[in-house]
Symmetry: C2
Subunit: 255 residues, 2 copies
DNA sequence: TTTGTAATGTGTCTTTCTAACACAATGTAG
DNA sequence: CTACATTGTGTTAGAAAGACACATTACAAA
């Protein structure tokens, strides 16, 4: 499935839709921190969002699924298109030319890789522990970054990340997100940390619990998580049916 | 600025980004009805959304502005990107081939116009009275349609329209829309009809007024609208500064 | 073993927003 | 000049959000 960098760059013009790409903002949650999966391309100074091209007979969304699968090993995940970025200034021909040359290819002016690119942005929510970050042929590193510590990114990828986060925040009160980001069993404080890191602000513990339980998508288990330094909190899991329903019809208080 | 149909079809490959277009869902409001501007292409059976291609050195959003300007004569309007449509099934090569042939051009298999197209969807809110619908060279008609009476549309344009409306509805509680759709002076009932037609449901007159006034973006004038069959309602206009602020920072109750 | 501490489990009160509804005022049509 | 539909302006009830209090519990330090 995965082809080597040189062959992709060489044959891309015949394989892919010209001038169009997808970029994925892949969010994970670990150690009470929101993480983003970033890629370090060879010969590039900055890190970048994992992205890819669209085969001529491939659904655009499927290209995003493919990127996700190949970078995390995960399939069947929460994926949402959020914005398309088409600014003229977002294409860096010099960088791409360097990539071409370093792959031993001719940097012909008409080369498909040197044209202007418009990119469709997707964001994904994945289970951190289940994902195994792996670089592709053209990149030298692939790793999780703390959202707080994300370095300056390639091109407009900083803007893309920002817009993804903004979209996620806006949609947070309409759709459930925990299932994709948390392990199967989790505590209420853990769920709260997740919301707090996404929103970037503190929430009241008691009001938060009331709201979440009101959505009716949680089941409290008999187990508690012991081992912590204090009172052992209950474990919860999601009620799969109700969770799916909330994904389709939105979150609503149900008393 | 506007070129004739044949020349566009012939030279498009050199002028435009390949395989990418913009489509605009242009909303207007008149006679207490929400309207959409539709286009009837020559040789096409169905009506379609006004759309266009993106010049190789043009911002994608600017292409949308250009479409709007050329179909309505309006500039400086409310315009929002809402979704990008890339389904494989959305390209109708047969129709495009017919268009080519009817323009006296060779329908070469590699012709730029016969490739798969991905389209970026924008929706616009415009002042109905200020807009002058005008067809372009490749279309035989351009007209406002009642949202209720929109005929079956070309390709996936029905889906695009639906998604635009859905997006508009979701954003209605976050951002003000009246300024773009209403004349400068308007009555509270008129503003309410606007919201009702967008949302597709009835609202309580008194609760609506309280909510709107609470946003603090309206100024009540001393005038009333007489001539109606009943009690003359007050006229309102928008407080431009506060309206702009609401566009940037969202609508919030301010008491 | 005891006790202090920091976290969790649960409940109350207040404020804000939404929803449902009542009544007086007014302009035109008949 | 009267009937009526529509507007202007309330009130009240319920739901959701926000702020806060107190008892419970598990580990850790004494």
């Amino acid at each position: 499935m995965e082809e080597n960098a040189g062959s992709i760059l060489q044959n891309g013009g015949a394989l892919f839709l010209p001038g169009l790409s997808v970029d994925c903002v892949i969010f994970g949650f670990h150690d009470n921190q929101l993480k983003v999966l970033l890629l370090k391309m060879r010969h590039a100074e900055k890190w970048a969002l994992p992205g890819g091209f669209i085969y001529k007979e491939e659904e655009v969304e499927h290209a995003a699924v493919r990127v996700l699968q190949s970078r995390t090993g995960l399939s069947n995940i929460f994926l949402r298109q959020f914005h398309t970025f088409g600014e003229l200034s977002r294409t860096d021909k010099l960088l791409n030319k360097k990539l071409l040359v370093s792959s031993g290819l001719q940097a012909d002016e008409n080369h498909w890789f040197l044209q202007r690119f418009v990119t469709v942005g997707y964001y994904a929510l994945v289970n951190f522990s289940g994902a195994v970050p792996r670089p592709d042929a053209t990149s030298e590193a692939c790793a999780w970054w703390d959202l707080q510590e994300v370095p300056p990114l390639n091109l407009d990828h900083g803007d893309i990340l920002q817009k993804a986060l903004e979209t996620l925040r806006k949609q947070l009160s309409d759709q459930p997100v925990g299932y994709s980001l948390l392990p199967e069993k989790f505590t209420m404080p853990e769920l709260q940390r997740l919301y707090e890191t996404i929103l970037g602000k503190q929430l009241d513990r008691r009001n938060f619990q009331r709201r979440m339980l009101g959505y009716g998508i949680l089941k409290r288990l008999e187990e508690r998580r012991s081992g912590g330094a204090h009172k052992a909190p209950y474990l919860y899991c999601f009620d799969t049916d109700r969770y799916q329903d909330a994904l389709l019809n939105g979150l609503q208080q149900k008393w």
